[in-house]
Symmetry: C2
Subunit: 306 residues, 2 copies
């Protein structure tokens, strides 16, 4: 669905944004104590860096920064908010990998934090990344007015907490037993992965001091691509296995988890993805050419092969 040229411009922009986020993270999470800190335990910092500097695509930070750019926002402020969001995403992976949760030993070709360090270090590194995200948004160094910071903290806490990510993770752990219906699956996914992607786009609008209407428009764009993200993930779980392993069912089916793909099939899912990309493009229409990278992002998310 994406032209080669659009695709390569998007890939370059994604990599550039990722490099900025990683440079800032490496600097912020050094062993050197910052303002207001008594000291920084080197082992905690090493565990945090291992959890967050993991070669991720940095899609959520990209969405924050490109959404902010639509409104001519201060780049440094957008980068700090984007980095805070990546700390939240990374903490959720560190805790998700724990033996009591998904019990994963490897992530992106590296040992997970509790395998490289130990479980206590992984718990504390996750807690610290979560806490640090809010400091990053609120602290003096960010060129945002206090009202914008408060809006960001509120929206991020809601997206990451009870009615968002951690709530969705809880529902996901129960899903094998409770067997949610279609509405239940949609709600679970909107909470577990959708809320943080929606926040990413809304956050860019807040940083850019957008009108309430534009802020809602970006949030809706985020919801559309968040749903596409999860559908593509579910599809990949089926098709990747179908190719690699010669069977049509993957991890979700093995775990007894129903997905929209297992309910409706591959063709229906591809149609839904096209519909969501069209919806995302329509929401971005008022921004014209300025939004071309966000249009590419929607197609990238729907088409992604990994």
């Amino acid at each position: 669905m994406m032209t080669d040229q659009g695709s390569s411009l998007f890939q370059i922009a994604l990599q550039q944004r990722a490099a900025s986020v990683e440079m800032l993270l490496a600097d912020l999470l050094s062993d050197r104590p910052h303002t207001g800190e008594i000291s920084r335990p080197p082992r905690l910092m090493a565990a945090m860096r291992h959890g967050v500097l993991n070669g991720g695509k940095r899609l959520r930070p990209f969405l924050v920064m490109e959404s902010a750019a639509l409104f001519g926002a201060d780049t440094h402020a957008a980068l700090r908010v984007a980095t805070a969001l990546e700390c939240i995403h990374s903490y959720s992976l560190v805790h998700d990998d724990l033996p009591a949760m998904d019990n994963d030993d490897m992530r992106r070709g590296q040992p997970t934090v509790h395998r490289k360090f130990d479980e206590a270090a992984a718990i504390l590194a996750g807690d610290s990344l979560l806490t640090y995200a809010f400091e990053l948004i609120a602290a003096d160094e960010t060129e945002l007015d206090a009202g914008a910071k408060v809006a960001l903290v509120t929206a991020l806490a809601r997206a990451a907490g009870i009615g968002g990510m951690t709530g969705g993770q809880t529902l996901d752990l129960e899903a094998e037993k409770i067997k949610p219906d279609e509405a239940g699956i949609i709600r679970l996914q909107a909470m577990k992965t959708g809320a943080l992607i929606r926040f990413a786009c809304e956050a860019g609008a807040i940083v850019g001091n957008a009108s309430p209407g534009d802020r809602e428009r970006l949030a809706e764009y985020g919801s559309a691509i968040g749903l596409a993200f999860q559908l593509a993930d579910d599809l990949l779980d089926v098709t990747a296995d179908a190719t690699d392993m010669g069977k049509a069912t993957g991890k979700d089916a093995a775990a007894g988890k129903a997905t929209l793909v297992s309910m409706h099939g591959i063709d229906w899912t591809k149609q839904q993805l096209s519909g969501l990309v069209a919806e995302a493009e329509e929401l971005l229409a008022p921004f014209g050419a300025k939004a071309s990278l966000l249009r590419d992002a929607a197609r990238f998310i729907a088409d992604r092969q990994s």
Copy 2:
């Protein structure tokens, strides 16, 4: 050190403040979704309530509210900030009790969250309480200006994170192996337990829109009673065992952990505690009779028997 009358007035005030915090917590952590939340998983809410509605003394919320009262602060705003701080304190206990950390089955006569539910629920309940604390401070319902909210989020994140509580927990886990010297022990304790108590008192000053000088004065009062809190804790670990079990060493000694009490002895520790109470009283002197409950709090912390 405390007169009977002062003691009983303080105990009544402490219980009244605790009741307010618990009523608000029970309401905030009900199963009914709040603004901006897609839904609330009942099992997550039950685990969070179990972790936070645990019969604690609510000393930190008391300190927030009494410090705020010194400056004639809005009671409702102070209560919300106090409750947010109790969410942070409670999350730290839920995660601390996990098998990979202190591996405690019981807390205050009840099974710990991972024993009553399971480890995954305890991890997610802790994460959710931590996240929710920041929402509680930042969300619209609090009658604080945006600048105060930003100052509170910043100070709380610093007190609870790398350079404060989670950093101190990391140092504490390493202490059996690394054997910190006296300065190291003081730093560890200032981070692990001191930072949040210092924040409690500083937060009251922020909520009350105190001058920078008064804010610093309250923070220093918090540091003094935070150190007293830990010394009393270490002393209790020795003296409670000496009485009950006929031996002069307790949990810390058994775990191979040096404390200031094991280094300097009981008499030195009691002298230090008297000195810290005197320091706290001196810091409160400018506030006269208005600060009498905070004076009582300092004595209560230094004298406490449990």
